[in-house]
C-alpha cells in the first residue's frame, strides 16, 4: 500500500514537473514522498494581492484514500494568511481536507482550492475561536474535528 501512495505521488510529481503548476502555485521542495512544500499566491484582485504563503503537504501511507495533512507554514518568518478559516498556527479549516476529501483530488487540486478560498475572502480576520484552538491544537491538523459551517468561503 505504501508503494501505491508513493507511486501515485511520483505520478503527480512528474505531472507537476512536466506540465507545471497552476498559475500562482510553485513547488518548493518535494524531496521525498512524505512532505512537500508549495508557495501559493492569489492572482488577480484580492485581499491577498502580492502576498506569498507557503503550504505544507504531509502524506501518509494511505494517500490518496486518506487525505494529506495540509497547513500553512508558520515558522522562519513565514506566516499564515489572515483568513476566517485559517488559524494562526497554519491549520486550515476546509472540508475537502477533512470529511470531504476524495481520493480523486490531488495535490494541485488542493492548492487550487485553497487559492480560490483565499481569493474569495471578503474580510481579513482570524477565525473566531482562533486563540482557543491554537492553544489546544494538535500538531497534525488532520486530528482536528472541524465543524464546517460556512459554505460561502
Amino acid at each position: 500500500m505504501a508503494s501505491i501512495a508513493s507511486r501515485r505521488l511520483a505520478k503527480e510529481l512528474s505531472e507537476i514537473k512536466s506540465e507545471g503548476c497552476p498559475v500562482g502555485i510553485k513547488l518548493v521542495k518535494a524531496d521525498d514522498f512524505a512532505t512537500w512544500w508549495f508557495t501559493i499566491e492569489v492572482m488577480g484582485e484580492s485581499l491577498y494581492q502580492s502576498e506569498v504563503y507557503t503550504l505544507q503537504f504531509r502524506f501518509d501511507a494511505q494517500y490518496p484514500i486518506s487525505s494529506p495533512a495540509v497547513q500553512f507554514v508558520v515558522k522562519d518568518g513565514l506566516e499564515a494568511p489572515i483568513h476566517p478559516h485559517v488559524y494562526s498556527n497554519g491549520h486550515i479549516c476546509a472540508s475537502i481536507l477533512g470529511n470531504e476529501w476524495s481520493p480523486v483530488l490531488s495535490v494541485t487540486a488542493v492548492c487550487v482550492t485553497l487559492q480560490s478560498m483565499l481569493a474569495s475572502c471578503k474580510k481579513k480576520e482570524r477565525p473566531v475561536d482562533n486563540d482557543r484552538y491554537v492553544r489546544n491544537a494538535p500538531e497534525n491538523p488532520k486530528k482536528t474535528q472541524f465543524e464546517y459551517h460556512d459554505d460561502s468561503v
Binding site: R7, K11, Q62
Partner: protein, 459 residues
C-alpha cells in the same frame, strides 16, 4: 502488483484514485464512475461516498466495468515485474501473470512482491552480486590477479589459461610423449636441447607411417567387424529358417552323410528308420500286375550292382515300372519272400519321393481299376455258368419226375390189370391223362439228354 506500462496509457483508462490504468475495473451503478476494485473498496471503507461526485456509495453499488474497458486495460503492454533484475520481457497485461509464474528467468518461488536483494558490486570485476554470493565469487573472479606457477608472472585470472599455453618456463612433456618419450622440462629447453637428442624424434617418420597404417587397420577392422556382425545375423536367420524347414520335413530330413550311407549299402537300413505309418504296407497286387504287364526298359541303364538287390533270380519277383526312379525298392530284394514291395526310398530328395509316391498312387489307382474290371468279368462269367447249371439241374429234375411218373403208371397198371383184364401191355396204357408228356409211347426223352457234359463235373 505494480506494473510499468511501456506506453503512456490513455488518460481515460486511468483510475482517478491510483492514477494508473484500471485493475479489475468496477463501475458504480448509481453514478457510473469507474475505479479499480481495490481502490474503490478502500475508498468506500474510508468514506461511503463516490470519490468523484460524493454521492452515497456502498460496495453493493459496484458492478464489473464494461468488457470494452476491461479489454482495453488488459491489452496494455507492460514490462515484466522483474525488470530491475534484468528481465526485458514485455507482454499484454493479461499475459504477464503466466510469464511471471512460468517462464520468467528471474521468477522467485516465494512470490512476486519480493524486494530486490541488495546487491554488492565485486571490487575486482564490477559485476553485482548478492552479499552471500559475493563470497563465493571473489576467489574465482576472472579479474583477480594470480601468479603463473612457472614464471611467477602476475596476471589476471582470465588470462592465465592462454598464458600457460605459451609460458616459456612452463614444464611440458616432449612432443613424442604419445610414442613413449618420458622427457619433461621447460618449454624453452624442448626445441633447443631435447628435440635434437630425442630418440623418438628421430623415428618420427616411422611413427607417422605406423600411426597412419594403424589407423587404417583399425578402421578396416571396425568395418570388418561390422560386416561380420551383419553376416552373423544373416547366418542366424538362415539357421532359424533351416531349423524350421527341418522341423517341417520331419523324418525326410537327412544330413548328407546319411544319404551317402544308405545309397551305398543298397538302402538296407533305411526302412528301419521310417516311422511305421510311413512304410508302405501292401502294394503287392498292383506290383505284381505291373510286373506282368510291363517289361523293364530302364533296367539296363542302371549299374547292375546298385540294382542287383531289386532283382533276385526268382522268376516272379517284381520289376520296376519305367519312370519309377526309386520310390520303392530299398530293402526289398533281400527280404523278398516276406516283403515283395519296397518301402519308400529315403535316399532321394523329398521331391523325388513325392513324385514316386504320386506315381505309386496313380499306379495303385490303375491297378484297383483293372482289378475291378477283371472281377466284373469273372463275376459275369461265373453267373452265366451258374445259370446254365441251374437250367440243367431243372431238366434233370424234370427227367426224374417223368421216370417217377412212369414207374407210378406201371404200378397203377399192374394193380388195375390184376384186378381187370391183366397183362394189357404196359406201354399202351395211359393211366394218368394229366401227364404233361402225353402218352408214354416213345415220348420219353433219351436219358443222355439230361446230362450236362461240361461244367457239371466241377460242381
Amino acid at each position: 502488483m505494480l506494473l510499468n506500462y511501456v506506453q503512456e496509457p490513455n488518460s481515460n483508462l486511468l483510475c482517478c484514485i491510483c492514477r494508473t490504468p484500471f485493475n479489475e475495473p468496477v463501475t458504480t451503478r448509481s453514478c457510473s464512475h469507474t475505479f479499480c476494485r481495490d481502490c474503490i473498496t478502500q475508498a468506500i471503507s474510508h468514506a461511503r461516498q463516490c470519490p468523484v461526485d460524493r454521492s452515497v456509495l456502498t460496495l453493493d453499488d459496484l458492478v464489473p466495468a464494461n468488457s470494452i474497458i476491461r479489454s482495453l486495460v488488459d491489452e496494455l503492454v507492460v514490462e515484466c515485474i522483474h525488470r530491475s533484475s534484468g528481465c526485458t520481457f514485455t507482454c499484454q497485461r493479461q499475459l504477464l501473470a503466466a510469464h511471471v509464474m512460468d517462464t520468467c528467468p528471474y521468477r522467485t518461488t516465494a512470490g512476486e512482491e519480493i524486494e530486490d536483494v541488495q546487491s554488492v558490486p565485486c571490487s575486482l570485476c564490477g559485476a553485482e552480486f548478492a552479499l552471500e554470493d559475493l563470497e563465493e565469487h571473489t576467489p574465482e573472479c576472472a579479474a583477480s590477479t594470480v601468479n603463473c606457477e612457472f614464471c611467477t608472472l602476475e596476471l589476471a585470472r582470465s588470462e592465465l589459461g592462454s598464458h600457460t599455453g605459451t609460458c616459456s618456463a612452463a614444464i611440458i612433456p616432449c612432443v613424442q610423449v604419445s610414442n613413449g618419450c618420458r622427457w619433461t622440462g621447460p618449454r624453452t629447453d624442448l626445441k633447443s636441447q631435447h628435440t635434437p637428442s630425442c630418440p623418438y624424434e628421430a623415428l618420427s617418420g616411422f611413427f607417422e607411417l605406423h600411426n597412419s597404417k594403424f589407423a587404417r587397420v583399425a578402421e578396416e577392422n571396425l568395418f570388418l567387424r561390422h560386416r561380420l556382425e551383419v553376416l552373423e545375423s544373416r547366418v542366424q536367420t538362415q539357421q532359424r529358417d533351416l531349423n524350421s524347414a527341418k522341423t517341417a520335413l520331419g523324418p525326410w530330413f537327412r544330413s548328407d552323410g546319411v544319404y551317402a550311407h544308405s545309397s551305398n549299402n543298397g538302402g538296407l537300413a533305411s526302412s528301419a528308420d521310417l516311422p511305421l505309418d510311413l512304410q508302405p504296407g501292401s502294394a503287392s497286387t498292383s506290383s505284381r500286375r505291373y510286373s506282368q504287364a510291363d517289361t523293364s526298359p530302364t533296367f539296363e541303364q542302371h549299374p547292375p550292382d546298385a540294382l542287383a538287390a531289386y532283382f533276385p533270380a526268382e522268376a516272379d519277383s517284381f520289376e520296376r515300372r519305367p519312370g519309377w526312379d526309386a520310390p520303392f525298392g530299398a530293402g526289398s530284394g533281400t527280404a523278398n519272400s516276406q516283403n515283395t514291395v519296397a518301402p519308400l526310398n529315403l535316399s532321394t530328395t523329398l521331391e523325388g519321393s513325392l513324385t514316386g509316391v504320386r506315381a505309386s498312387v496313380v499306379a495303385l489307382g490303375g491297378a484297383v481299376d483293372s482289378l475291378a474290371r477283371r472281377s466284373d468279368i469273372a463275376l459275369s462269367n461265373e453267373t452265366r455258368r451258374l445259370n446254365e447249371e441251374v437250367m440243367s439241374l431243372r431238366a434233370n429234375m424234370h427227367g426224374l419226375r417223368m421216370q417217377v411218373h412212369a414207374i407210378m403208371m406201371d404200378r397203377n397198371a399192374q394193380v388195375t390189370g390184376r384186378s381187370g383184364e391183366g397183362g394189357g401191355g404196359s406201354n399202351s396204357v395211359m393211366p394218368n391223362p394229366m401227364s404233361p408228356l402225353g402218352p408214354g409211347d416213345g415220348a420219353w426223352p433219351p436219358p443222355a439228354r439230361f446230362f450236362y457234359p461240361g461244367p457239371g463235373g466241377k460242381l
